[in-house]
Symmetry: D2
């Protein structure tokens, strides 16, 4: 069994996902007792009227190694309503997001916070970060010039969309580090689009974690991590999976088809063995050989992606605005958003 697990952990890396709940799912699928949590990982769920919240805590190195992710908290809000024009549910999620973010942030009321929107504003599914930034209530430059009645209701907040390395020639981490040294915030909140394994999770999931983020991690290779270690301040990452890459989609569907074929086949027959063998030895080679080479640079995205990204960036920005500014409430948001 040890060997199988290794293979699957390797698969975890091949099947691209940035979600802790999917990393956990992949481990569980490879286990005999599918319902067991991986060692070193603690999971709690909470059901709301229109959402499920899952808190995955990676508590030690074993958990971190199994999951392929740093130790820390990963809070995931799942709701198919995130994709729809469902105002009541969005309000519920904004409040939940604000509440969870406030707990995770642990800052004092007048600490300065920097919000960074990672990603490329020219590519719709990668534009979540920059779009959130455009809706953040930015106040750092107003300190000292605020009217008396507003003072005390807002804290200093700065916001930046640094662009992507392909457009700037500069690592996002370098830009943010330069900025952190000038602005000296107490906390960085970084927003990014993520990749997921399941198309059902696309635009229907918000993940928030206190473990930092590697900008453009899925795309290239070694990038400077944005984290407490590299920046010297805590980093909260908020992300939404907005794409499945086409190869992952095919691969994942194939897996499920094979699993279903194996289930329907009598154990012990030649065919059963063949399917078993196939899964482990040949499947990837076959898919790689057969899969159209042009699929490599393609991703899967819903038709109405522009509208959905707008909606999501509104939800996240308002969650952040309420969490950060003591005087801003849901009522202000529904009036002025």
């Amino acid at each position: 069994m040890g060997k199988l697990k290794e293979v699957d952990v390797k698969n975890t890396f091949q099947i691209r996902t940035d979600l802790a709940i999917e990393a956990r799912e992949l481990i569980q699928e490879s286990q005999e007792k599918k319902e067991d949590e991986p060692n070193g990982v603690k999971v709690e769920t909470q059901e709301g009227d229109c959402y499920t919240l899952t808190r995955v805590s990676i508590i030690n190195d074993e958990g971190s190694k199994a999951m392929g992710k740093p130790k820390g908290e990963y809070i995931t809000i799942e709701s198919q309503k995130l994709k729809e024009n469902a105002v009541d549910c969005h309000e519920e999620i904004i409040k939940l997001l604000a509440e969870q973010l406030r707990k995770l942030a642990k800052t004092k009321e007048d600490d300065c916070i920097l919000v960074a929107g990672l990603g490329n504003w020219n590519i719709t599914p990668d534009a979540l970060g920059p779009k959130v930034i455009s809706r953040i209530l930015v106040t750092r430059h107003l300190q000292g010039s605020l009217p008396v009645e507003i003072e005390g209701t807002v804290r200093p907040v700065a916001a930046i969309s640094p662009g992507v390395m392909g457009l700037t020639g500069i690592e996002t981490g370098e830009i943010i580090k330069g900025l952190v040294e000038k602005v000296k915030p107490t906390l960085l909140i970084a927003i990014d689009a993520l990749a997921a394994r399941r198309s059902s999770r696309i635009n229907a999931t918000i993940q928030m974690s206190d473990t930092g983020v590697a900008p453009g991690a899925g795309v290239g290779n070694k990038r400077m991590m944005l984290s407490q270690e590299t920046l010297g301040i805590p980093v909260i990452a908020i992300g939404v999976p907005t794409v499945v890459d086409a190869a992952t989609l095919v691969n994942d569907t194939m897996d499920r088809i094979l699993a279903s074929m194996i289930e329907q086949t009598k154990k012990g027959t030649d065919f059963y063995r063949m399917l078993q063998d196939l899964e482990e030895e040949e499947k990837y080679t076959m898919i790689t050989e057969i899969l159209d080479p042009y699929t490599e640079n393609m991703f899967v995205t819903p038709k109405e992606v522009d509208a959905v990204i707008d909606r999501l960036s509104n939800i996240i920005a308002n969650g952040i605005n309420i969490a950060l500014h003591p005087g801003i409430t849901m009522e202000d948001i529904s009036k002025y958003s």
Copy 2:
């Protein structure tokens, strides 16, 4: 064989493709002699420095029924360079497009022509038509007021982006018919984004036909065709496949995987028979059952879709501009585009 063919023709409709060359390919794949042309279909190809041109002529009803497409000419230009910033190749294709369009159009030099850009300008891969329209040299309103030196070098051209039924509440066919009755053009040229089966053809293929077009055909059901029959004037359709829908991608990849498995399996064994049976009886049910329901509304598209659609609309618009206006040459295009 008869039965198999019927199944395949049905598949032709399930596997969504608007390309005549893919309809032909699907028929050939289902034949024993893969290289035979379907009855009633004539095919010629021509190789250029950076493109392949395929002329598929559907010459009788048998061909039309087999292909699932009306009788007429389907000219397809294929070039992977269409997606790239390859100016020399683009110039070659613009000239080719203009030449082929002029032959297909058979209009007199001062006939008025209406160009219609079908599709939804809010959804990038569906915005090809409206983007082409924005680059068409429109002159109909200038007739009578043109400077002497220009008169005779341009013909009357009008252009419209009618929008899609979901946005207007009106069938595109109705809008175009109302317009044709007012403007009284001699020819309609309709530009639309198409669906393809193979991701390699996405944004790498231009199809031009003289058989009309059904706006949004792939999306809903019965729509008013734009054709000689419905409008009373000839209709040339120009299209580019800009998406593969996610289910087609999975289905098509599965087919190729199964075909490869069958090939590697000894004929006559149980496993061979099982795969054969599977292909025909169970595959679709299985995929449909297993495929994530959220994949339905998803499509596969390259990351750099905005830039590529811009490039393609430039190529098509310039091909049309040169074909229609006697005094416009490639030189004007490279200077002023």
Copy 3:
């Protein structure tokens, strides 16, 4: 006095304004008793919490000639809050707009209505019409397929953004006429950006009239009017002044400066006479000579024009949506807009 009036009527045309309240203002300024209403013109005003509504009724040919506008009702809503993010006031104005539009429209509950957004979507201050269209609840294509619980709450509404003649080669009037013949609506509602004389009215004024509209009237010369006469159905025009042209701004400011100089100068002195003479004889020549020729194609617009046009198109679209669909209320609007 007769001669002076003629001159002033001519000026009405030179000073470009599409607003009935400004046409009236110009006449009043030229009169000795500034507060008298022009003959054949009846005016009522109504003050709301955050707006002024002025109803100008041109009741006979004399009024029409003096005002340079067709007989009919001109309802103007003025509010500086239209430019701001003032949700409560916007809700009040949406309700007012819906109520006034319903009175003006006089249609039966299930009549089909066509809404047309005139103007050029590529030029922000001219994009009001197309932007309103993008927010109209379009239902004509759903008739027959609506769920039972919704049926009866919406009427058939179609919507179109026909583009401008410079882009289509076709007069907007021709496109609309072709469409009216196909769609056979009971009423046309046309949205357009207007020109005003006073920069204070820019984006702070909504005019609604039952007298039709001449698309692009200010730009070129004779255009086909959209009206009961040309289309055979009633036409309601809704517009917002979004620009002052630069020459009008200078001219209007000059007028006010000269008026103020005349006021401060003793009647009967040479200087007084000179200013008087100047105003009538030389002013226009002088401005025309001196005014920078490049100013001709320029217009004056506020910095935040994109955001303001978005807000205005939201207000107008929601006013129309509530007025047209029996089952849509302000509550639906604030939830789902």
Copy 4:
């Protein structure tokens, strides 16, 4: 006369202009000998086929004080063709720009250069900087991974659009300083939209200087200058006036009207004296009183501003690309732009 000059110098500041040639013009207008150059200022001009180049050198503190600008070189390229689709002239200007920029830059071939696009990408006339950035050939991140045949033809270039303080909460100067400390470039090139006094210069003038730039200087008050002093590296500023503010337009036109009236009036008459007095004492008060308060936040811009800004950003970006990268020529630009 001394007093008059002081007043006029003050006016130089009220009349907002970022152009050295307009600062010079304003001084000359206030002088008795209009053609004399201000003390401490040296001017050379050069005529091309389609442009005028003016080199204003401010050589000492007296010149700097009179002009209200730092000592240094100000190179201005004027051409009405910049606004038009005039490819041949644009090529000439791109070459000129590259040549002048190379002289001003004085860097070694493999020095790293940072290009910063100042301004707000959401407001078209302020989006010049960010638009130029989107067309800069960025190569810093490719160093070490470039193919052999390209190595040596490009130098390391990074590019950033930092946004504006109202959107980030951070002074643009702070962001750039943080970045300069990380990236350690040898030179900063900063692109910004400028304000001019004459509408004829809008989008028809490119100014390049080696004296640094104050981001958003026209808008608010004290901002951190981007210059050798603040950043520790040389700064070249490239700008285009894209707006005239409405009050400046009226004021400037008024001045010319009054000047023309004075000219036509006999010296020594009461009227002459009155006009003279008016100019000095009352004009500003009068304009300020009479000018519509809503004009304050308005600016004057041409209708086709989007297309023109696109064209200008293309010209400037290509000028920079040729100047910076040893292996890039005009031919590459016309092929691949």
